[in-house]
Amino acid sequence: MMRRAGAYLVAVIAGLALGLGSALWMAGLWPAGDKLAFGDVDVRGWRSDFAIGSEAADPYTRLRVARHGLLALAQTEAVYFTRAVDDAGAPLSEGCTYRLSGGPMPAGWWSVTLYDGQSMLPANTDNALSIDGGRAGGGAWSAVIAPRRPADEGMWISSRGAGRFDLTLRLYMPEAALIAAPQTALDPPRVERVECPR
């Protein structure tokens, strides 16, 4: 009798752990490194889920966004794309220098912001955490991502203190074509590794 009760107890505890772990894994919250492996849209390495913020979000997306994108807007107002690797597929790292470049975006306003592995702004005081459409202008643009300010006067995003990081592209007031056909409407920024000295 005791052995049978023990077997049930072990089964229930194991089941609870299995259910918790599988839900976190499928939501991309566990292990931590998988947090960006989500979404229904992938435009040349920039991933998004257009159901973010809405009741249409599946429960896995809802749980992941609650953890990593709390208070995000629904797609009618803004869409968010994220990537954690460069154009060659290598993880973005504070130790490297990158050239971020692109052109006009199909939205009323856009920005690219750098976040660390905890989805927070990196703890530096460089006042260079993002670039946006207002500074970039309406045509082709480029910026440097590096832990130190580059010698030229161009746009710079500081990765100092970020460790492994990711980039979020915000597109506010998105054009209808972007929502309907992101693959053709969006020419996303390129992330080219310039050097990686360490």
């Binding site: 077997a7 049930y8 089964a11 089941g15 259910g19 009741e55 966004v65 709390l70 976040y115 702004l121």
Partner: protein
């Protein structure tokens, strides 16, 4: 062999239950924790809190944008007859008023580029009213975003924020 059927069913049942509960309750738990954290950082109930510019040192919520002015108001419409008067002052650039329920859903957003916006927020189950929004949950968060990518425009956004409103009203029933 048959003696393992019961424990196996218990294992799968517990796994399914834990899986479902994690997905079903997780966002609400995360939102609850965020509300507690916002309260601890001085975000008021039924009032927009004048924000600090988002920096690595001041950030309160994951993935905040340093280019935006964020003003938050927590609300609680649990008491019968309560409703919220919500307003967003004039701003010459992009601004929006967005509403999030206790499960993190963005259930409404009003854009107010170059204009002031006002509405009323009604408790769950209220009949619809012209110019009003019904909240899916009694508690939630309202967020004003204003495009303010530099210190000068952020200071101007703070001035504009003096016309914002998040005020509880009680109606006689």
């Amino acid at each position: 062999m048959r003696r393992w059927v019961g424990p196996a069913l218990a294992l799968f049942g517990a796994a399914g239950l834990a899986h479902g509960l994690t997905l079903g309750l997780g966002p609400g738990v995360i939102m609850d924790r965020a509300m507690v954290a916002l309260e601890a950082r001085g975000v008021a109930v039924h009032a927009f809190t004048t924000p600090q510019r988002v920096t690595p040192q001041s950030q309160q919520v994951v993935r905040s944008s340093p280019d935006l002015y964020y003003a938050l108001c927590r609300y609680d419409l649990s008491e019968p007859g309560s409703r919220l008067v919500v307003g967003m002052g004039d701003w010459p650039d992009y601004q929006s008023l967005s509403f999030f329920d206790a499960r993190t859903d963005n259930f409404a957003t009003l854009r107010g580029t170059d204009k002031a916006v006002s509405t009323r927020l009604l408790p769950p189950g209220s009949p619809s009213e012209n110019g009003a929004i019904v909240s899916p949950s009694a508690k939630g968060v309202i967020l004003i975003r204003r495009l303010a990518p530099d210190a000068e425009s952020f200071a101007a956004a703070v001035e504009a924020g003096k016309a914002d409103a998040c005020r509880l009203e009680r109606t006689s029933r």
